[in-house]
C-alpha cells in the first residue's frame, strides 16, 4: 500500500484539518475533535433550514467539499468507509440549526441510516426538528425486500446541491424535504470499477481484479460489484451503465436531463469526458435534452479507478435550483 498518508489512524483528522485550513473562507471545523464535523464558516444561518450530511470518509469531496453557501450547512466525516456515530451527527445538527429545522441527507447504507436515526432522536430530544431523506439511486442493486435496498451514490451530490438551493432561498423544512424527495425520485446511477481501492487500515485492495477484468455495478465502498466482465471499450461500458439507468428512470423523448459522469478517484478526467461523450450521444439519440452537465471526481472511493454515470430528470424548478449560486470547496458558481 503506497499512500500519501502518515498513520492510518490519522488519515481522516489530518485530511480534514488540511481541508479546513485550505478553505477557511468557506468552512470551519467543529470545536470538539472528539465530535468531528465540518460546518459553514460563519455558523448557522438564522431562519434557514439546515442541511446536514455525512457518512464514512473516503468519498471526498463528498460531503465536506459541499459545505458552503447554497449547499450543505454541515458534514460529518466518519472513519474511512464507516458511518460516523450519532454524537458528531448530533453536534453537526446543532451547528446547522438556524431555528427552521434540519434536513439529514443520508445515503442508504444500514450504518448511515441507523446512526443518523439515532442522531435524529437525540436532536428531537433537544427540540431540533429533523427530517431525513434517504438517497437510494443505485440501479445496480435490486430494490427489493431481499436486499438492504438501493445504495445512495452519485445522486447524492445533485440532491445536496438542489436541496441546498431550496433551503438557501428560504423554503421551510417540509418544502426542502419535498424538493429533495423529488430529486431522489428522479435520479439514477450506476458505476464501474477498473481497479479496487485500498482502505488505509486494511492495507490491502478491497477486491482482486485480474488485469483484463472490470467490475460492473460497484458502490462507493470498494465493495465488489454485481458482476465481473472482460475489459471493454469505453462506449460499451457506458452502455452497460446507462441502459439500466434509462430504463429504470423511464426517460423519454423531449425530457430534460442532467448528465453527471463521476470519477471514482483514480481515473483521469480525460476518460470521464470520453464516457460523457458517448452517454450524451445515447441520451440525445433518445430525444432527451442534456441541458445540464457535471463531469469530475465528486463522490469517490479513495483511489479507485472507474466511473459512475448519474442521470437526473430535470424540470424547470430543479434546473433553476441547480443553477442557483453555490460556494463550496468542490462546487462553485455564481458567487
Amino acid at each position: 500500500m503506497k499512500k500519501l498518508i502518515n498513520d492510518p489512524n490519522d488519515v481522516v483528522p489530518e485530511s480534514v484539518e488540511g481541508f479546513v485550513q485550505a478553505h477557511a473562507d468557506i468552512v470551519v471545523a467543529g470545536a470538539d475533535p472528539e465530535l468531528p464535523y465540518i460546518a459553514r464558516a460563519g455558523g448557522a444561518v438564522a431562519g434557514k433550514v439546515g442541511l446536514v450530511s455525512g457518512g464514512g470518509s473516503g468519498h471526498e469531496p463528498l460531503h465536506g467539499g459541499f459545505v458552503g453557501v447554497g449547499m450543505l450547512d454541515a458534514a460529518v466525516p466518519g472513519p474511512v468507509f464507516t458511518s460516523p456515530t450519532p454524537d458528531p451527527i448530533l453536534a453537526a445538527t446543532q451547528a446547522a440549526d438556524g431555528g427552521a429545522g434540519v434536513l439529514h441527507i443520508v445515503k442508504n447504507y444500514t450504518g448511515d441510516v441507523l446512526n443518523f436515526e439515532t442522531a435524529a432522536e437525540l436532536a428531537d430530544a433537544e427540540d431540533i426538528p429533523v427530517k431525513a431523506i434517504v438517497v437510494n439511486d443505485d440501479v445496480a442493486v435490486e430494490d427489493s425486500l431481499y436486499t438492504a435496498g438501493r445504495r445512495g451514490v452519485g445522486g447524492t451530490v445533485l440532491l445536496e446541491k438542489i436541496a441546498g438551493a431550496s433551503a438557501e432561498r428560504g423554503d421551510d423544512l417540509d418544502t426542502v424535504l419535498a424538493v429533495a424527495t423529488r430529486v431522489n425520485d428522479n435520479v439514477r446511477s450506476m458505476g464501474v470499477a477498473l481497479s479496487a481501492c485500498i482502505v488505509p487500515h486494511a492495507g490491502k485492495p478491497s477486491f482482486d481484479l485480474p488485469e483484463d477484468e472490470i467490475e460492473i455495478g460497484i458502490g462507493i465502498h470498494g465493495e465488489p460489484g454485481r458482476r465481473r466482465i472482460k475489459a471493454a471499450p469505453a462506449d460499451e461500458i457506458t452502455d452497460l451503465l446507462l441502459d439500466p439507468i434509462i430504463e429504470d428512470l423511464g426517460l423519454g423523448s423531449g425530457e430534460d436531463a442532467l448528465l453527471f459522469v463521476n470519477g471514482m478517484g483514480g481515473t483521469p478526467s480525460s476518460e470521464l469526458y470520453i464516457v460523457y461523450r458517448h452517454a450524451r450521444a445515447r441520451l440525445e439519440a433518445l430525444g432527451v435534452n442534456v441541458t445540464r452537465s457535471l463531469v469530475g471526481n465528486y463522490i469517490t472511493s479513495l483511489e479507485m479507478q472507474g466511473a459512475s454515470i448519474t442521470v437526473l430528470r430535470l424540470d424547470e424548478e430543479s434546473t433553476a435550483l441547480w443553477d442557483a449560486p453555490v460556494h463550496t470547496a468542490a462546487l462553485r458558481w455564481g458567487i
Partner: protein
C-alpha cells in the same frame, strides 16, 4: 458457581477486547470479501475505547458493565455494527440489573440483545447477518436455563450455538447489510458480524470458565 457476576462481566469485556485485537485483521478480511473491509477496525476501535473506560468504572450490577459497553460502542464504532451491537448491549443491560445473573439471566440478556439487533436491523435468521449467531445463542442459553443448568453452562451453550450459527452463514446469500449488494457472489463467505458475534460470545463463555 451457578451465576456470573460483575467480575465475569469485566473479564468478558477484557477478553472481548483481546480477541477483537487479535482477530482484527481476519474480520477486516471477511468484510473485504463481501463488505467494505472495516468490521475488524470498527470493533477494535470500539473495544479499545471500552477498555479505556473500564478502570474508572464502578459498576454495581452486571447491567452497569453492559451499559458501559453499549454506550461506548454506540459512540465509537459507527457503521452498521456500532448501532446494532450498541442496541444489543443496551437492551441486555436493562435485564441484567443485578450483581449476579444465573442461567435464566444469561438467556434473558441474550434474548434482549437479539431483540435489540432485530429491532434496529430488521433482519431474520438466514439473512446472513449477526442475527444468525445471536438467535441460536439466545435459544441455546434458554434451553440450559430451562433444564436448570448454570450460567457458565448457558454461556458455553450460547457460544457453541453462536459459532455454529456463524458457520451457517457461509453458504447463504445475504439479504441485509452490504453483502446483500453482492447477490450470489456472497455465497461461500462468512458474515463478518456473525463471526464477531461468535467471538464475543466465546469470550463470554471463557470468562465464565466454561
Amino acid at each position: 458457581m451457578t451465576g456470573v457476576g460483575i467480575d465475569w462481566a469485566l473479564d468478558w469485556v477484557r477478553r472481548s477486547a483481546a480477541v477483537v485485537a487479535e482477530r482484527r485483521e481476519d474480520l477486516i478480511d471477511l468484510d473485504r470479501l463481501i463488505g467494505d473491509g472495516d468490521h475488524g477496525e470498527n470493533l477494535h476501535r470500539g473495544y479499545s475505547a471500552v477498555l479505556g473506560k473500564l478502570d474508572a468504572a464502578e459498576p454495581a450490577t452486571v447491567g452497569d458493565v453492559l451499559k458501559l459497553v453499549a454506550t461506548t460502542l454506540m459512540s465509537t464504532v459507527g457503521g452498521a455494527a456500532g448501532p446494532l451491537y450498541g442496541t444489543a448491549f443496551l437492551r441486555g443491560a436493562k435485564v441484567a440489573d443485578a450483581a449476579e445473573i444465573d442461567a435464566a439471566g444469561v438467556a434473558a440478556v441474550l434474548a434482549a440483545g437479539l431483540e435489540g439487533v432485530v429491532a434496529r436491523g430488521k433482519a431474520e435468521v438466514g439473512d446472513k447477518t449477526m442475527v444468525d449467531a445471536w438467535s441460536p445463542a439466545a435459544a441455546a442459553a434458554q434451553q440450559v436455563a430451562d433444564r436448570g443448568g448454570s450460567a457458565p453452562e448457558a454461556l458455553r451453550a450460547a457460544a457453541d450455538a453462536a459459532r455454529a450459527g456463524a458457520e451457517s452463514t457461509d453458504p447463504l446469500v445475504a439479504r441485509k447489510g452490504r453483502a446483500s449488494y453482492l447477490g450470489e457472489r456472497a455465497i461461500g463467505h462468512r458474515d463478518p458480524g456473525a463471526e464477531s458475534s461468535a467471538l464475543l460470545l466465546e469470550a463470554a463463555a471463557a470468562a465464565a470458565g466454561s
